[in-house]
Amino acid sequence: MTTRKDYTRPLDIKHGRVDMGHGAGGRAAAQLIEEVFVKAFDNPYLRQGNDGAALAIPAGHRLVMATDAHVVSPLFFPGGDVGCLSVHGTINDVAMCGARPLYLTASFILEEGFPLAELKRIVDSMAAAAREAGVPVVTGDTKVVEKGKGDGVFISTTGLGVVPQGVDVGGANARPGDVILLSGTIGDHGVAVLSKRESLEFETTIASDTAALHTLVAAMLEAAPGGVRVLRDPTRGGLATTLNEIARQSGVGMLLDEAAIPVLPQVDAACELLGLDPLYVANEGKLVAVCAPEATEVVLAAMRAHPRGAAAVRIGSVTEDPHHFVQMATRFGGRRVVDWLSGEQLPRIC
């Protein structure tokens, strides 16, 4: 007696497109999940096939959860795509709480008509990123919205991690006198994405810095367990906004040294051309750390010893300031406020 599945024709990944049936919860949905998602993410948790995943957690840790929706346009950009981004972004948010990320969940909102081949490319990229980071996607969900009510694919990921004993990292922990470290150049991700935006298009060799930073964080925490007070990834809003958030949360001011902030020449040039400020451009593989002054050197050394922190630098220090201003000594010799991002970062003509 032949044994066969109850659907026999595999998905036509090459020419097929997402249709409403793939989100209706029936056999088409089951097939999509099996042939695209489960196949790519393959792990014992997902294979449980239940409404959720049952997970093991080491004893004696605090837990951290973080979530992010990923809606980048275009979906594919130099250096990455929405798939790996959605893995890195959430791993990083977990790591920025001082936690070791253990598990991810992924929830997809697909637009009717989205090519299955692109979906597969994105899911495979996610799976590769998750594998490389050692953080499996343990459960997920897929919905389909009508054409014109989505934008290809949106991916919301949630991460679960554990905080080792003795680690206390949080945005409210910065104190005057602390030192502000940055793990590398800023603006790479945003410029890479902009370079592919319709009507802005320009040629560049800049690639997104999208990367998981949890091993970098682990190295920093190991180097100075109590010395790292704040960690944050300067994503949307850029370095400027991230520092303002920390200043507000901690009730402090900051003084930056413009000359110390690393910006790749091409990023600088692209910003010049479009009237943008690299301080407000998104990053996806960089972190800001606020450290106790006495821990600075050892943390910086640990960062520089890690491939994701090789270009780590000290960019400023925390000040006492009832206005919570982030100020900057300009390379030119002046001083100015570095404010929150206001509105969107739009290319300007003036």
Binding site: R4, D6, G21
Partner: protein
């Protein structure tokens, strides 16, 4: 629900079943074609087949408007949406019918066609009113039941002067299809399809009345029992057919007198003949070209005829080679006679049109009756 629930009563079903077992002659085989997909659906969904004696066999007919829609017609609708940028409005049933190039309306929609499911022809009119700058085409399918609402939509559009509304008319006629089957060589000459009688259409007959069937009983000596679409109606009709056969009668009987009169709905008939005229020939999926079997829009309303308005040329497209829909629609084969039934062809990925509508013989059997006969072993899935 009054006039519905009473006709689904299991206790009465058992009584009729008993009568049937008592009256069906043990030495004889009875083969009846239920013309309509509505009957096919009732038989499958309520498990009517289980209650019939083993020597009474039901043969599915071509009476599912979705099943008989040929590929070329779906292609026209897709062309209007994808190449002519029209808003194509259609009943939900047609969305998954396979067309050329692996497309269907669902897939054409996913490719960017503005294809909208409507519940009523009146909704398509409303869409036309709301989108004056767009061409709005109502992809009109169906038998005599569904034609009057389309006629009404055209009349309304004409009275309102709706300049952007037209109809891609694919309305077909029941009696011509029945004639075609009775004239088919399998039935007439070889006797490979022994048809002892017909369960006649329910809702079609509300509109056209019972009189049009008299001809079949007389000319072809086949009993006809017009029956409602509730399961008890079907069982009673079968009982009435068995009785006609046993008694050597070939009459038109009406089990559905609560809704069907000999003359039908004259208001609807008048409206339909004002808007539509006979096509000399029309392609049916499975049956091929059937003479005088469909309607087209009269020249007086040419402005509302999408075929004229967009100068559409019909191109016939052959069905998938493996598909036995044609033979199934003519009653010559059963779904399980098709080599790809339940494997390559499933409701999820229909190859033929009979696998699309839940009234299609293949879909009905796959969705409701498969447990009886498929030697499928379902592998333990990974997830």
């Amino acid at each position: 629900m009054k006039y519905i629930d009473e006709f689904r009563d299991g206790d009465i079903a058992r009584k009729i079943a008993e009568r049937l077992r008592a009256e069906a002659l043990p030495g004889r085989q009875y083969s009846f074609m239920e013309f309509c997909g509505g009957h096919t659906h009732a038989i499958s969904r309520y498990g009517v087949a289980e209650l019939l004696p083993p020597n009474v066999r039901m043969v599915h007919g071509p009476g599912c408007p979705v099943c008989v829609l040929p590929i070329g017609r779906i292609d026209l609708a897709i062309q209007l949406a994808l190449e002519r940028d029209a808003i194509v409005c259609t009943y939900g049933d047609t969305m998954r019918v396979p067309a050329s190039d692996g497309l269907s309306l669902v897939k054409a929609k996913a490719r960017g066609g503005d294809i909208r499911m409507v519940y009523s022809a009146a909704d398509a009119l409303q869409i036309a009113r709301q989108n004056p700058q767009r061409e709005v085409v109502f992809f009109a399918i169906g038998f005599e039941t569904t034609t009057p609402p389309t006629a009404l939509a055209i009349r309304t559009a004409e009275r309102e002067g709706l300049a952007n509304f037209s109809v891609l008319c694919c309305h077909v006629l029941t009696p011509s299809a029945i004639t075609h089957i009775l004239e088919s060589p399998e039935v007439r000459q070889y006797g490979t399809v022994p048809l002892d009688g017909f369960v006649g259409p329910a809702h079609v007959s509300i509109v056209i009345g019972s009189a049009p069937y008299d001809h079949f009983a007389e000319e072809y000596r086949k009993p006809v029992v017009i029956a409602g679409f509730e399961p008890l109606d079907v069982m009673q009709a079968v009982l009435m057919l068995v009785r006609q056969v046993n008694e050597g009668r070939a009459e038109v009987e009406n089990e559905f007198t609560r809704a069907v009169t000999p003359e039908g709905n004259l208001t609807a008939q008048t409206l339909v003949s004002e808007m539509f005229e006979l096509r000399t020939s029309f392609e049916w999926r499975g049956l091929g070209e059937v003479p005088y079997s469909a309607l087209k829009i009269r020249p007086a309303y040419a402005a509302f005829d999408a075929e004229r308005r967009f100068e559409l040329g019909y191109r016939s497209v052959a069905d998938n080679k493996a598909c036995e829909c044609g033979a199934i629609l003519r009653g010559v084969k059963k779904p399980t006679d098709c080599k790809i039934f339940g494997t390559v062809c499933t409701p999820e990925n229909p190859v033929g049109s009979c696998m699309v509508s839940s009234e299609g013989a293949c879909a009905a059997h796959y969705s409701y009756g498969r447990f009886r006969d498929i030697p499928v072993r379902v592998e333990r899935a990974a997830a």
